[in-house]
C-alpha cells in the first residue's frame, strides 16, 4: 500500500520529519520553477552576495521548462527535467533554507548529505507525465529572467501536484533501496 501525504507550502520541518521514501505526496500552494540557466544565475547572485528573486525559506523548486501555454490553459505541458544537472547549484540553495526540490533521476552524494544537514527532501515527479502534471498547475507567472523563455523562473500555484519522496531527511535514497528489491 502506498502512503499518500498532503503537503502545503511553505514547508516546515515538522511535516518533513514524517516523510519517508516511497510516500506519494500531493503538493498544494506556491512552488517555483527553475532549471539549468536560471540555476546558473541564482548561483552567480549568491556568489556576489546579491538578493535572490524569491526567498528560499521553506520553499520548493520544481525543475521544469514548460511548453508554451495553449489558449484556455493555465500552462503548457510541464513535466520534470533531470535533476543531476542542478546538483552543483543546489548545495547553496539548501543552505539558504530551500526545503525541497522536484525533478527526476537521482541526486549526488553531496546533495543528499546537504539535505540531511539542512533537513530537506527530494521529490520525484513522473517524467513524461507532462499533461497530467499541467492539470495540477492552476496558475503560472514569470517572476524572473523573462528573457530565458522556457527557462525563466515561474511562480506556480499548484493543487495536489503528484510526486514521490525519493530522498528523506534521514538520507534514505529510493534509488538505492527500491531498485535492490527488484534486482534479479
Amino acid at each position: 500500500m502506498i502512503k499518500t501525504v498532503q503537503l502545503t507550502t511553505p514547508l516546515d520541518d515538522k511535516i518533513l520529519e514524517t516523510l519517508k521514501i516511497g510516500d506519494k505526496v500531493l503538493i498544494s500552494g506556491k512552488i517555483y520553477t527553475a532549471r539549468d540557466a536560471a540555476h546558473k544565475r541564482l548561483y552567480e547572485l549568491i556568489k556576489n552576495g546579491e538578493e535572490l528573486p524569491f526567498d528560499m525559506t521553506g520553499q520548493i523548486i520544481y525543475y521544469t521548462g514548460p511548453a508554451p501555454t495553449p489558449p484556455g490553459k493555465s500552462i503548457g505541458s510541464a513535466g520534470p527535467t533531470t535533476s543531476y544537472r542542478m546538483d552543483k547549484y543546489t548545495l547553496s540553495l539548501l543552505t539558504l533554507g530551500l526545503k525541497a526540490t522536484i525533478g527526476k533521476g537521482q541526486r549526488s552524494e553531496e546533495v543528499i548529505n546537504s539535505m540531511i544537514r539542512n533537513k530537506a527532501v527530494y521529490f520525484v515527479a513522473i517524467g513524461g507525465a507532462a499533461v497530467v502534471i499541467a492539470k495540477a498547475i492552476k496558475q503560472s507567472k514569470i517572476i524572473a529572467y523573462d528573457e530565458l523563455g522556457t527557462e525563466a523562473i515561474r511562480e506556480l500555484e499548484v493543487e495536489n501536484f503528484p510526486c514521490f519522496v525519493a530522498n528523506d531527511i534521514d538520507g534514505n535514497d529510493i534509488f538505492m533501496t527500491e531498485v535492490k528489491k527488484y534486482q534479479k
Binding site: 500500500m1 502506498i2 516511497g22 506519494k24 540557466a37 521544469t64 521548462g65 514548460p66 511548453a67 508554451p68 501555454t69 495553449p70 490553459k73 503548457g76 505541458s77 510541464a78 513535466g79 527535467t81 533531470t82 543531476y84 527526476k104 533521476g105 537521482q106 520525484v124 513522473i126 517524467g127 513524461g128 507525465a129 507532462a130 499533461v131 497530467v132 499541467a134 492539470k135 530565458l148 523563455g149 522556457t150 527557462e151 503528484p162 514521490f164 525519493a166 529510493i174 534509488f175 533501496t177 527500491e178 531498485v179 535492490k180 528489491k181 527488484y182 534486482q183 534479479k184
Partner: protein, 281 residues
C-alpha cells in the same frame, strides 16, 4: 522524373511535428500495458498507469505528451527520380518545423551555440536532417522529436573484436544501469553496431524508428535483442528509476559491415515517450 515543389513540404512537416508530439504510437501504449501486467512493484504500476493516462489526455487535449518536445530529428528518404524545385529543400524542412513548433505550442529547446552563448533560437530550428537517396519517385519524411534527458544518457564506444558479443551486451546493459532514472524509464534502447564512429551513432538512432510490435527480421539479432531486454529488466531500475521490473520496453539493433580493426558500438537511449510520425509523398 517527378517534380516536387519544396514549398509543398512545409505544411506536411508542420503537421508531422505537431502530431508526433501530441499522439504517441499505439505500439508504445500496448507495450506499456503488457509490461504493467507483469510489473511487481506497486509504485511502478501506479507510474505506468499515470503514463497511460498522460498519453490519453495529451491526445484529447491536443497537448505535447512531454514538455521536452525535443530536437526535431528529420529522416528523409529521397527518391532519385524526384526533382525538387522552387526553393531550398533544407530550408523548407526547417520552415515546417518552425511553423509546427510555433502553432502547436511546442517547446523551443535549441540553443544557438553549444558552449559560449547558449541563446535559444526560439523556433526549434535548425532541425537535424538526414537524407538517404533511394530508388523511385517518392519522398518519405519522418519527424522524430528527441528529448535531451534520454539523449544525454546515450554513448558510443569504439570496441574491438576481442571483446566479442558478450562485451557488447555488457556495455549496453551497463549503460542502462548507469543511467538509472535519468532518461525516463521505461526506455527503448537503440543500438548501432558496426560501420565507423559516426555511422554507428546514426544507426542507433535509426534503430529507434522501428515499432515496438515489429521484431528484428534477422532471427540472430532478434535473439540478442531479447537477451539484452531480459538482462536490462533484471536491473531493478523500473519506471522513473523508483524500482521495478519494467526498465526497458524494447531493444532494437541495426548493423553494418565495419573495418577489420574496429567494432563500433553506439547506444541511443530513448525515453518511454518515443515519438515519430512519417509520411510518404
Amino acid at each position: 522524373m517527378r517534380e516536387i515543389n519544396v514549398n509543398d513540404l512545409i505544411p506536411l512537416v508542420k503537421k508531422l511535428s505537431i502530431d508526433a508530439n501530441y499522439y504517441i504510437g499505439e505500439d508504445i501504449i500496448n507495450k506499456i500495458k503488457e509490461f504493467r501486467e507483469l510489473e511487481e512493484s506497486p509504485t511502478a504500476v501506479e507510474i505506468l498507469d499515470v503514463m497511460l493516462e498522460n498519453y490519453k489526455l495529451a491526445a484529447e487535449e491536443r497537448m505535447a505528451v512531454c514538455q521536452d518536445t525535443g530536437s526535431a530529428v528529420v529522416f528523409v528518404e529521397l527518391g532519385q527520380d524526384v526533382h525538387l524545385t522552387r526553393g531550398d529543400f533544407s530550408e523548407a524542412i526547417n520552415e515546417g518545423v518552425r511553423q509546427g513548433y510555433h502553432s502547436g505550442y511546442l517547446r523551443k529547446s535549441i540553443v544557438n551555440d553549444p558552449i559560449i552563448e547558449r541563446i535559444n533560437t526560439n523556433d526549434n530550428t535548425p532541425a537535424i536532417i538526414y537524407t538517404d537517396i533511394v530508388r523511385g519517385d517518392k519522398i518519405k519524411i519522418t519527424v522524430a522529436p528527441k528529448g535531451g534527458g534520454s539523449e544525454n544518457m546515450s554513448e558510443i564506444k569504439m570496441m574491438t573484436a576481442a571483446v566479442g558479443l558478450e562485451g557488447v551486451i555488457e556495455f549496453v546493459v551497463d549503460r542502462i544501469k548507469r543511467s538509472g532514472g535519468n532518461p525516463c524509464p521505461p526506455v527503448i534502447i537503440g543500438i548501432g553496431l558496426g560501420g565507423n564512429f559516426e555511422q554507428s551513432a546514426l544507426l542507433s538512432k535509426k534503430a529507434l524508428l522501428r515499432r515496438l510490435d515489429e521484431r528484428n527480421p534477422d532471427p540472430k539479432w532478434d535473439k540478442i535483442e531479447n537477451e539484452i531486454l531480459q538482462k536490462v529488466n533484471k536491473l531493478g531500475i523500473g519506471p522513473q528509476g523508483l524500482g521495478g521490473t519494467t526498465t526497458a520496453l524494447g531493444v532494437s539493433i541495426l548493423t553494418k559491415p565495419c573495418h577489420l580493426a574496429s567494432m563500433p558500438v553506439a547506444v541511443n537511449v530513448q525515453c518511454h515517450a518515443a515519438r515519430h510520425k512519417s509520411i510518404i509523398i
